[in-house]
Subunit: 596 residues, 2 copies
């Protein structure tokens, strides 16, 4: 029941029709993404995900990672799987070629990342965090730091971590207290960091911690934070590994899910201070973090897509074999698998439709990042970057909230068996539940969307998006068929209300910020439903064109039309009704907090 | 962080304004529910819940119940807590006085049941299942069975279980295979039952299993099922306990939540057959089950209310002490508890508002059951019974779906700490997740609402409800104030669409049942939001009357107006947008199941 097969047909369709990977492959530095190579990568990634990573998902949950005498052991099979992954060159896929990366488009890397996370989220978190370390070093590391660390982090021989959180400093990073004192060419780091994903483990030779800390004379808050590279094992000038640094794993958290992923409490400097090297400039650590924020948040959004796909596949496979009752559609006597029951079909189609919409949004945004990075035209790069900045909080929050809902629906499809841990459905719900929390809670994403992204340009980027959606909705009107007409009608209504809500947010945000922020989460949900509906509309139109041209698998294209229509009826149609909640901040802020 | 204090102010308000307990106390056989006694019961129940049961909730989750050599041990403290509960006479509260019950109204018993489940759902499941056994024996047991078993079950000295499910027979009870063969004045039962809540435990002297099984010559399906009483220890004619019956606990399930509650696999008849006594007539076992279905489903809905209240209190208490960041509302420098952040306030108010609406629906329905049982007027009894039959699936499904959502929001308020098991927030989500599944999945509730309750009277009971809601919405229009006007506007729109959806369901259900059933869950959600909005509107009006009369706590009444408005803006306002999903069965049923 816990098999996973990468949904290659939809992945290929969306890379083609939504991200337009063929166009990305025409951009400078993206030419290596030829159709043949893309196909080969997707096929091979699907094999590694399905054959190696997915079978370890349950054991990862049951065993978890364990700490004994400062040593963290990952679950049985993880070490070997990671060696497979590194030896296959998978870790290098998205990185620039200068230090050994394959330099492939992010849209493609995103599809592959989805597979790792669907197969085994507890495993995939290790390379996910490594991406942030590579990006920070690529953007801000000295040439010597890049020479010493990047090749090993890019192959995956070493792994990277992000050390932000302290007990008193979670969402409020500026409250952190870890100290860094200069000593010759390096610094001595002391302090305690919590919630460090793969902060200690046995899958790689070395671990490179990126640590936020304060210099003695640093100003308070986020303007006094610097970023340091603190290797678990010190690295000699020739790249060989030296002695153990003064950092150790004190404990692992006992978590609701992602048990395989060790969430470490790390103590720095119990013996005089860990050796750390400044990345970038002193007191500019937060800017370094912002460099990697967009891709980190995109990647967590992709985890939402991934866990939704996994939950869908598990529920579908169960519904096909679980025989129970006679559905009203039955033409003959006897019992049938529950997939014949109308409500089970509704649940499965909704899970599928929402997952496809989330995938569309994630791949579209990844493609926009590729364009923002590689387009030959500066205006185009800037326009794409504005689109990315606007959509990143939506990808992160909307996809992860839906990921939890879909994993919960997956449990529901199983009935009583869904509540029994051995079935595996409950694990997906437990694993998914972290994604709306980490990498900035979804409330913080909504605040970012409204308080930063909308207000800083007074809604200009949102209006550009709305204009493009309106034009595409018009195009749907020119196409024949009931499905597209129904999709178009709900989409037009959604865009209209999204436009009203955007204007209200910009106006209100300027003179009554608390009231605007109290409606930010419903606004983000409205944005997700509308943008998801737009992309599903594009997908439906493409599917209809393919049907008309007798191109590809007709069954797939017909299924896409229906999943897009289901998404329109169940999700896009509900979006306009979010408006009173968007504008309901007055009620929220009127409620006396002492009365809670 | 895991304290629980029963929300007595709202419980009293809703018993008074929504269930109208004072009027119930005027009905025959309900006179003992005097205001003084009701107050005393609520106060004392709150103490037992808060002081004895709630502190055992975490330990119940961590230790769970364990099986060793056929003996099930409940977690530390549970046995003593159960003794307290029995000695306090709490188990007898809702039962008829003939066999030792206190004969108090169900509305009051429902409020008390909410407290047990909020304090410790794993514990409260034991008496919850016992209620079913008492009701079945009261309605269908022979005088001798009632004499021997009812007094002990009513005090709680013995506990009852319900044995329906077998591996191949879950929602499809008719597929069960357990056998019963007549032997003198009793039967010999053989077979295996799964998912038996408190099927074996150490809290009571004896366990009385109610077991569904088939006679050798029984017709297939649900028409060939009989109900048997199978005591764990046989009972002598003088009521003393005799030898061990041929039933044993083979294993306990490893579940996502409610770890304290032992979910047993029971083997009957490994040594020749367990001695069982027929309850009611042969082959009429399903009718006996239907007798207790309404109260069992109400009680599971109450679990949804309860876990939501518990999650709300935990999130609120955390938000008051967790200092993190400076909210936009801050008037001075420094950091503040997160309860000051607009989005945290939105989450808490929404949790509170939804919990109050669920409580209103549960207490209202319990009050209707009291009226259906006790009214002196036969027409009134019948009308109330129709209302109850219509609303029961809504109470069960809507309150449990929301219970899961609210528990998940509770995790979210905690941020990263919510994902750490020691915090306790995650337990509520894990515990809540069973409630949409057991006692008939929420999909089955929706099928019941549409396929049985709507279609059997062609929507007459629903139309009666709609008429009453419309009249009450009009009354809101006569009252002053922005809050009531906003509440009324959303309510009127919700009722209108609920009416349209009801007509569509009745029409479609008659000629295209699968299409109707594929929209049954959205229809039930629409019903819940609308009926919840109606009752919150009544509550708001009552609060405003109290304010005008300077009656009661002004702060409470003002809070009620705002929570009702929040519910209107975030929940009732979204209800009309469910219509395309209600009517979206065509899309669902068009999707080829081989394409999933």
């Amino acid at each position: 029941m816990t098999d996973y097969a990468a949904p290659l047909a939809d992945i290929r369709f969306q890379l083609s029709e939504i991200a337009d990977l063929a166009e990305i492959a025409t951009l400078p530095d993206c030419e290596q993404a030829t159709p043949d190579l893309v196909d080969a990568i997707l096929e091979e990634a699907a094999k590694l995900a399905g054959d190696v990573l997915a079978p370890l998902n349950r054991i990862g949950d049951e065993e978890g990672s364990t700490l004994e005498n400062g040593v963290v052991r990952t679950p049985a099979g993880f070490k070997e799987a990671y060696r497979h992954y590194v030896e296959g060159g998978w870790n290098a896929l998205p990185f620039a070629p200068e230090h050994g990366g394959q330099g492939l488009p992010l849209a493609l890397a995103t599809a592959v990342l989805e597979m790792w996370n669907a197969a085994n989220m507890g495993f995939a978190l290790c390379p996910l965090l490594n991406v942030g370390a590579v990006e920070a070093l690529t953007a801000h590391g000295s040439p010597e730091q890049q020479r010493l660390y990047l090749p090993k982090l890019i192959t995956g021989a070493w792994t990277g971590t992000m050390n932000l959180t302290e007990p008193q400093a979670g969402s409020d990073v500026g409250a952190l207290r870890s100290r860094a004192v200069a000593e010759g060419d390096h610094y001595r780091i002391t302090g305690q960091k919590i919630f460090i994903t793969y902060g200690e483990h046995d899958m790689a030779e070395n671990i490179v911690h990126l640590v936020l800390a304060r210099l003695p004379d640093a100003p308070p808050g986020t303007k006094g934070i610097s970023l340091f590279l603190v290797p678990k094992l010190l690295v000699n000038a020739d790249g060989s590994l030296g002695q153990r640094n003064d950092v150790r794993c004190v404990s692992l958290e006992h978590k609701l899910g992602i048990h395989a992923s060790p969430t470490a409490v790390l103590a720095y400097g119990d013996n005089g201070g860990a050796v750390g090297y400044l990345i970038g400039e002193e007191n500019r650590g937060m800017e370094c973090m912002f460099t990697m924020m967009n891709s980190a948040r995109l990647n967590v959004g992709v985890q939402g897509v991934a866990i939704a796909e996994r939950a869908y596949q598990q529920a579908r496979d169960f519904a096909r074999v679980r025989v129970q009752g006679r559905p009203v559609t039955a033409e003959s006597a006897g019992t049938y698998p529950i997939i014949h029951h109308p409500d089970v079909r509704r649940m499965l189609l909704l899970m599928r439709a929402e997952t496809e919409a989330m995938r569309a949004l994630a791949y579209y945004t990844a493609g926009a990042i590729d364009r923002a990075r590689h387009s030959g035209d500066a205006d185009e790069r800037a326009a794409q970057q504005r689109r990315v900045d606007l959509l990143i909080p939506v990808v992160k929050a909307w996809c992860t909230d839906l990921g939890v809902e879909i994993a919960s629906l997956g449990v529901q499809v199983h009935g009583g068996m869904g509540f029994i841990e051995e079935t595996g459905a409950a694990q997906h719900l437990r694993d998914a539940r972290i994604t709306p929390i980490y990498e900035g809670t979804n409330g913080i994403q909504a605040n970012d969307l409204v308080g930063r992204k909308l207000l800083r340009d007074r809604g200009a980027a949102a209006r550009a998006l709305i204009g493009e959606m309106e034009a595409d909705a018009d195009a749907l009107g020119d196409a024949p068929g009931d499905d597209l007409a129904a999709i178009r009608a709900t989409l037009v209504a959604g865009i209209d209300v999204f436009g009203q809500a955007t204007r209200w947010m910009v106006d209100t945000g300027e003179h009554d910020t608390p009231r605007a922020l109290a409606g930010a989460v419903p606004y983000l949900k409205l944005a997700g439903a509308t943008v998801g509906g737009w992309l599903m509309g594009k997908a439906a139109l493409a599917a209809q064109h393919r049907l008309a041209r007798r191109e590809g698998d007709a069954g797939f294209n017909e299924a896409k039309l229906l999943s897009a229509r289901c998404f329109a009826e169940h999700v896009v149609a509900t979006a306009p009704a979010l408006l009173p909640g968007v504008m309901g901040g007055g009620t929220v802020m009127s409620f006396d907090i002492d009365r809670f």
